[in-house]
Subunit: 269 residues, 2 copies
């Protein structure tokens, strides 16, 4: 399969898509570390001349050609921009950390669902002692690479909930996913928001402590929202709230599939 | 913690919640199998006199007292109804099966998100040879028990997509989660639906085949919907679409948290 590039010449589509830190521009060279070089060469079985798409969260998405492979290194020649950098939804996810598989899942899904910041917050009933932020970040980056976003979520170091809300910038609304208390259905709550940045906040499996919830409800920037009559697990609540916000107020509300360049074929081979 | 029961006397809340097949009514006796008896006795460390909530999808939710334990059995005396059976959303999920952890996850989340039918459908690019329906059903039942719904999803045997659509009852709209083609943002599509039953259909990781998609788009009951500019994994798409439909047209749109009896305390102990 061939696609038309920006300059009109036929060109094979990139075989994969990677996030890098380096600046991207025509003529730039990007070196990959050992792990990624191995992945391209021995897992994907790419070769010199094969193309890879690159993004760094600042310079848009670029096409690069593999121009050298060695033991533990790979060098890429950046030549053409595939997409300019574009604004993305300003949507944070604050979540009380949960156990291993489920927390990995939250990081992955938050990246796919377009969260710009992913922030573990420690609540009273949080029973997870240590959060491996590097692992979460790796999951989020991998998901961002696969889902074709132009940024990766900013994965923050865990912080205590009361500290986070004390330092909060009050122009960012917190949609509090609460199982109890006076909640508004999420669709109605999102429809009633003034335009502006939003954070979704979900509690641990045991829920928020009573006084924690009371304290949150007193904050002027907190809007408690309901996710229906069933009790959702913490990971389900986070994902559901992200999806609802994107559908109603985010970048799902305005089409979007056509804004993507061809990347993966739907046909095998 | 004590709660007021329907008759006004103080009573300890149930320690857990189980789905059973037997009829539930005041005076009924329900026997549990070996595995569940073991779970109550040795995992939850319950004793004679402790209470368990039961539901069967037909008779509402009942409170039952453990009145006998033995090696591999447990007998429960059903006495009081906690909630009458109530209508639930008529929302099906048809999904192309995906690999192990992710398919378990879909079954669990579909139950939490209120799917009434969960149906694996085999598409051209489905690369999963065998679907363990019993395992999916067990995951869905466990999730239904935990999320406090009054039914469990009907987990159907896998069927071929073309067979499923050939036998389709045309009054049920299929919301087709498509990565390509003429899609409407999901919020606009759901808002534009005539009232009636709905099924969400998601494809395999490789997407639908071109002619499969063309065939689906020709069916009068199929509405293609878009889930934003990022490419979602199959499991993410299924859950996001379920959440959006519930928020916009299902039982999340009308409050709901107050309809639940007290069950789990938010405080430890």
């Amino acid at each position: 399969m061939t696609i038309e590039t920006e300059t009109g010449s036929p060109e094979a589509p990139p075989k994969t898509r990677l996030h890098v830190d380096e600046p991207l521009a025509a003529g730039a060279t990007v070196g990959l570390d050992h792990e990624r070089a191995h992945y391209l060469r021995h897992v994907l079985r790419l070769d010199r001349g094969d193309r890879v798409a690159l993004f760094n969260g600042r310079d848009g998405e670029w096409s690069a050609r593999i121009d050298g492979f060695g033991k533990g290194w790979c060098s890429l020649a950046v030549d053409r921009q595939r997409r300019p950098q574009a604004p993305e939804p300003d949507l944070w996810l604050l979540f009380a950390p949960i156990k291993r598989t489920r927390i990995d899942f939250v990081a992955e899904k938050a990246a796919e669902l377009g969260a710009s910041v992913v922030w573990p917050v420690l609540t009273r009933h949080t029973d997870v002692a240590r959060v491996n932020v590097d692992r979460l970040r790796a999951n989020a980056i991998e998901a961002a690479e696969q889902c074709e976003r132009l940024t990766v979520p900013d994965l923050r170091e865990p912080a205590k909930l009361d500290q986070v809300t004390r330092d909060w910038s009050s122009d960012r609304t917190i949609l509090l996913c609460a199982e109890a208390g006076p909640v508004k259905p999420i669709a109605a709550a999102v429809a009633g928001l003034k335009p502006g940045p939003v954070a979704i906040l979900t509690g641990p499996e045991g829920g928020f402590a009573k006084d924690e919830l009371d304290g949150l409800l007193k904050l002027p920037f907190v809007v408690p929202v309901g996710l229906g009559p069933r009790i959702l697990r913490a990971d389900t609540a986070a994902l559901a709230a992200l999806a609802c916000w994107q559908a109603l107020a985010g970048d799902w509300a305005t089409g979007g599939a056509d804004a993507r360049p061809p990347f993966r074929s739907q046909e095998p081979g």
